[in-house]
Amino acid sequence: MTAIVVLMLLFLIVCAVAVCLTRDLLTSVVIYMSFSLIMSVVWITLESPDLAITEAAVGAGITSLLFFLTLKKIHAIDARNEVRRRHAQQKQDKGGASGNA
């Protein structure tokens, strides 16, 4: 049991450092989500199931969801991919036009 707790605490530290060091915002939100999930298991081992439920619902669920929505709103999720997609689409369009001609 102690070994599992120590392992989870190590995971927590790794997650906390990784959140700071990740450059991609989406990835760091996902890592933060996993931090909350591990934290909720740690709460159970500390015999506070009330906190565990709240941590899982709010920390891992709703907070991350709001982060995702904010990232979507400021176009931080798909800026690069969108440019690539449009470029590919245009290439295709041009190819189709030349094929017809």
Partner: protein, 333 residues
């Protein structure tokens, strides 16, 4: 001297192209396709990848230039040294203070821990008898410390209000741009800010949403018997509503949950909470017997007002969580 305005102009051009691209990214429906068609000739000439790379290059160049100008200044080196020194010093001080504090804390589960004083002894010994709640945490939160919980609910409610003020897209407002107005009036406005109807998500949500909602209700109603309570159950139910909206869209949820429903439910719940707490504070402070029976501990209808308070908190939290989601997502409910 001539080069500088030209460079700036080029940069401004790249920037405006970038901003337009940002606008166009909104086009997950047909509303913008016409605009895009109109703009096609503007974009046709350039390769987007090239444009993006150019823009990035320009931005990097700008930053590098600014850095070089800053490096040419006299105070640069001294400021940098001082900044680095300050950073390291503050971090070291924080680490040492925190480690020292952790080291001098009593061990976990120590019987001589200072928190094991007469307050917690009283809660543990007389909690069940005085509040009727088997779950001692709920008994503490909603009976002994119900005033704190009222404050917490109000903080959450205030937060939702602020989000409403800041993010609500009000079509009547003059600040509301013409573009947003057209988007609102367009036949596709219902799906504009929503994902495309995803079959996998809809089928999953059809199975999951009832389970999640019923589990939330269970957690709320059993708050005085088992772990959980109004806040956790409310958050779970809010998550269920969010899943429903994500899968089926705002049009479906408006059949039973509108802005008016939100206002009504939250107002009634907060008022009920405040009134029932007024009653128990009044009787408690004046040593009057409360006429509300505590019931048998362990039964679902027990522990007096705690069940009512849990339900109220659950409603407030559910509605507020959903309101957060709707405001962030769409700007309206």
């Amino acid at each position: 001297m001539r080069e500088k305005p030209e460079g700036l102009l080029k940069w401004a051009h790249a920037f405006s192209a970038f901003m337009n691209a940002g606008d166009e990214r909104l086009d997950n429906d047909l509303v913008f396709s016409q605009v895009r068609d109109a703009d096609q000739d503007v974009y046709e000439a350039d390769s987007y990848e090239q444009e993006w790379a150019e823009h990035e290059q320009e931005e990097k160049q700008e930053v590098i230039e600014r850095l070089e100008r800053w490096r040419a200044l006299k105070g640069y080196r001294a400021a940098r040294r001082a900044y680095a020194l300050l950073c390291v010093t503050i971090c070291m001080i924080m680490i040492v203070v925190l480690l020292y504090t952790v080291g001098s804390l009593p061990a976990y589960g120590d019987p001589n821990h200072p928190i094991n004083n007469e307050v917690s002894a009283r809660y543990i010994e007389k909690g069940l008898q005085e509040t009727g709640a088997v779950n001692i945490v709920t008994g503490m939160i909603l009976d002994y410390r119900a005033f704190d919980t009222l404050g917490e609910s109000t903080v959450l409610f205030t937060g939702a209000m602020v989000v409403l003020f800041l993010l609500r897209a009000d079509a009547q407002s003059h600040k509301y741009s013409a573009l947003a107005q057209t988007m609102k009036d367009s036949p596709h406005s219902e799906t504009f800010y929503e994902p495309h109807r995803d079959v996998i998500l809809q089928k999953t949500a059809m199975i999951l949403v009832p389970v999640v909602l019923i589990f939330g209700v269970y957690v709320v109603l059993n708050g005085h018997l088992s772990p959980g309570g109004g806040f956790s159950g409310g958050a779970i139910m809010g998550a269920g509503l969010m899943l429903y909206v994500t899968a089926f869209g705002f049009a479906s949820i408006r059949r039973f949950f509108t802005y008016k429903t939100y206002q009504f439910v939250v107002l009634i719940a907060l008022l009920t909470y405040a009134m029932s707490k007024c009653y128990s504070f009044y009787t408690g402070a004046n040593h009057i017997e409360s006429i509300i029976p505590l019931g048998t501990p362990g039964a679902i209808l027990s522990s007096g007002l705690i069940l009512v308070l849990n339900i109220c908190v659950g409603f407030v939290v559910t509605c507020t969580m959903y309101a957060f989601y709707a405001m962030f997502r769409k700007g309206e409910m």
